[in-house]
């Protein structure tokens, strides 16, 4: 078990085995997404209050969930990189940031499109759920900007890791914001068991599907990141130039 993880953290080994996982995750994720969306958009019964507008949930909840998941992955990897100085951990953190930013954007955009017919507004300044989610988008931007501003990779890793960890306090705030303050945003529905199975199942399938697609994208980006970080290493030179091309 430990040798497996130890081997996985070795850059050349990771680089070699990642494509198989990327392919499996991408194909499985797309199939689940297609199946879940079909059922959610066409087969699931209409919500008695929100009518067909509730169907936005099938893209909104998975993207919102993954926007927070990406931040957690980024912050935990950054912490592991800081404490144990594992090369791959900083690569994971750096790779998670742009994906997290895009999924945060999707959660905000689909939420806004959902809010227009349901709340009568695209956006409500001062709403705790909306504001803390927007803050997360800026945390991702800050993280990416900080990384690109520092040329020395080791320093960029350390400084951006600290930023990621400080910003992590925002994650429980986003999650509990609908309980702690009054918000336009509705409370928990998935975990609270408030949905009938024919509505809930497509959502769970989509959450799993999006998670797999996200996993494929993350592995893809980590792979590029590893290659860039190891660009002076012998195994990379041999791989790119072909063995024995270089002394």
């Amino acid at each position: 078990m430990w040798t497996f993880f130890h081997k996985l953290a070795s850059p050349p080994h990771f680089y070699r085995i990642a494509p198989a996982f990327i392919r499996i995750f991408a194909v499985a994720g797309l199939l689940l997404f297609a199946y879940g969306s079909w059922n959610g958009l066409f087969e699931a019964p209409m919500d008695y209050q929100q009518k067909d507008a509730f169907r936005i949930i099938y893209v909104h909840v998975p993207t919102a969930y993954l926007s927070m998941m990406a931040y957690s992955i980024m912050a935990i990897s950054a912490a592991i990189g800081l404490i144990w100085r594992i090369k791959l951990a900083h690569a994971v953190a750096a790779a998670a940031a742009p994906l997290g930013a895009w999924f945060t954007f999707l959660a905000l955009a689909t939420g806004s499109i959902w809010g227009r017919p349901m709340w009568g507004t695209w956006w409500e300044w001062g709403d705790p759920r909306l504001t803390s989610q927007l803050l997360m988008l800026f945390l991702y931007f800050g993280y990416i900007a900080l990384r690109s501003a520092i040329d020395d990779l080791a320093k960029a890793d350390k400084a951006s890791a600290v930023l990621a960890l400080v910003g992590a306090v925002n994650i429980p705030i986003i999650h509990y914001s609908v309980y702690w303050w009054t918000s336009l945003h509705q409370g928990q529905t998935v975990m609270a068991g408030k949905m009938p199975p024919e509505m809930l199942n497509p959502l769970l399938i989509n959450i799993l599907g999006f998670t797999l697609i996200f996993g494929a994208l993350l592995l893809h980006r980590v792979r590029s990141e590893v290659l860039y970080r190891e660009r002076r290493a012998r195994w990379v030179l041999e791989l790119v130039a072909g063995a024995k091309a270089l002394p």
């Binding site: 067909d52 169907r55 893209v59 999707l106 499109i113 959902w114 227009r116 893809h220 792979r223």
Partner: protein, 62 residues
């Protein structure tokens, strides 16, 4: 069919959400591929620069 797609008058909201999500996820995949290719190209450029430097060093020695 068109009735199903109309989503009881909410079609514009539902389909724009779904469409945007699909577009952004596809774009994420395209960007990830492009990033990988640019890293590979950088390394190739670095290798040819190294090789050139070595050839140059050998030629000046002769």
């Amino acid at each position: 069919m068109s009735e199903t797609l109309a989503m009881g008058g909410y079609g514009a909201y539902v389909w724009s959400s779904v469409g945007l999500t699909v577009i952004v996820v596809v774009m994420c995949a395209v960007l990830a591929r492009r990033r990988h290719r640019s890293v590979l190209n950088d390394i190739r450029a670095q290798i040819s620069a190294q090789v050139r430097a070595q050839i140059h060093a050998m030629e000046t020695k002769e």
